[in-house]
Symmetry: C2
Subunit: 297 residues, 2 copies
């Protein structure tokens, strides 16, 4: 596979390469090695938050703002895996139809892999592909409050967390779980009752946090749209005071450690796990001793 | 540490052991080895679902039903980690105050660890502790739709997924992401508009699924409470046709593989990741080559 059409921004070549990267095609790594020297220019924005917060609409409007600045934009949407097709649920087609006809916007959905570390490895490689292909901004969108979101945060230069008023009991947990990964909080659907209360709660939680964790809080109504420009400006302000370049060594330290771990995982011994499991299920051996014996075999 | 007070159900001894297990105290594994022969009796029920679905209230009422049957119940609540304390967010104290004075209910919150596989290892060990301590039912509650929930599902004998009407755009993704881990769908807040529509959507999605994936669907209002007994009966019906004993070898196969992986991870070479990261950030070497060199060093 030649990297040239990708470096020239050929959308079909980029799309083909993305598929190979996602499927862990044997030639993908060689291609990524060739593309790597051409990376390091794009800004990586993360958008995340709990289900129902209106992230897709917000992302679509954020893309519109970036396009107004004349930037080419790639969107990487990370979806839960479909149990039926094995692929991403929402898919590219129903996502952000507003940008369908715009050749300056490239949208790709990938499915969360069940395997440990699977998501972040593919997502990292795809951002490098888009970066090499000359996209100025890369927006990574995830749904949730779990490990995937923390991984994405380690990848992005700035993370916007989209919340919505009136989420019920769990909102404390959700807010706090994502508190340290957020550089910008977007209170979406801010025309609903409770938006002011949510902002007060956030400000109270932030008052307990370390002074260096002080994300901006923006009220927005993505469907209007309003508050989108302000959200992007808050992100840019963060990037001005925390240039991606300065965080690069730390991000790569984390990524390299994960890449080495993933390669180690591929070396799990081809033991007869099921026979050991039978012995454990029959209480003939405890699982801790069994795991140690498998490893030392 | 003697296992005897734990086997006799001494709550203080159980609590101390749980803390050691969660903190990966060096003596925890020796204790778990001694407890292991006394495990295998408890039923493990998983409760999960997206934020705002009312899981805490549902779990509290489910515990009440189990208590009516005369069962001793342990609840293991898995929370996002607090960025400020490093501990679980919601905590034991504000959780299910209804059962505060009941010595037949033991509640423990643990924080999601950022580390790969950290959550599931601690959660598994805690369920073994509760099982050995003679609890008849163990309820594991998680918030979310991510990898943590899939891990919990691999641990529980039956998973109840709590949903709520009117979750917006993401609900398709959420539903499908948890479709294959659910044995019982609980449509909570079924007095809200849209409960019937949600049930129809679920039935449509299920009609596309393989015939062996056919979870029950129960309408409930946890705050009433209504639909709780029906949810528990649906879970019991599943457990009658899928006795935990029959799935034990498969569950232990998965767990042993993860335990071996976790032990392998602990062997990540003590390389100077930061120096390699500097070279990658400076584009002097690509990350794929760097990871391979660290591993082979």
């Amino acid at each position: 596979v030649s990297p040239d059409p990708i470096l020239e921004g050929d959308l079909r070549a980029i799309s083909r390469a993305a598929t190979r990267i996602e499927n862990r095609h044997p030639e993908a790594e060689a291609l990524l090695k060739e593309l790597f020297p051409h990376t390091g220019r794009a800004e990586l924005l993360g958008v995340t938050g709990p289900p129902g917060a209106g992230k897709s609409t917000f992302t679509s409007e954020l893309v519109r703002e970036l396009r107004r600045e004349g930037r080419r934009v790639a969107v990487l949407a990370v979806d839960p895996t479909s149990p039926f097709t094995g692929g991403a649920i929402l898919g590219d087609r129903i996502r952000m139809q507003a940008h369908h006809a715009d050749p300056g916007v490239f949208i790709r959905s990938i499915a969360t892999r069940g395997a440990l570390g699977g998501l972040s490895a593919a997502a990292l490689d795809l951002t490098l592909l888009f970066d090499a292909a000359g996209f100025d901004s890369i927006v990574i969108e995830t749904v949730g409050v779990g490990q995937d979101e923390v991984d994405i945060a380690q990848l992005a230069h700035c993370v916007l967390v989209v919340l919505v008023p009136g989420m019920g009991d769990d909102v404390q947990a959700v807010k706090a779980g994502i508190m340290e990964i957020a550089q910008v909080f977007v209170i979406n659907k801010a025309d609903l009752p409770g938006a002011g209360k949510l902002e007060s709660e956030l400000r109270f939680l932030l008052s307990l946090a370390a002074p260096e964790i002080q994300p901006a809080i923006i009220q927005a109504v993505a469907t209007a749209p309003s508050g989108i420009r302000e959200s992007l400006e808050a992100a840019r302000q963060y990037l001005m005071s925390h240039p991606p370049r300065l965080g690069a060594v730390q991000r790569w330290t984390t990524r390299l450690r994960e890449m080495v771990r993933a390669r180690l995982m591929a070396r799990v011994p081809a033991a007869d796990f099921e026979t050991w499991a039978q012995a454990v299920a029959a209480r003939e051996i405890d699982p801790y001793t069994a795991a140690a014996r498998i490893l030392h075999a």
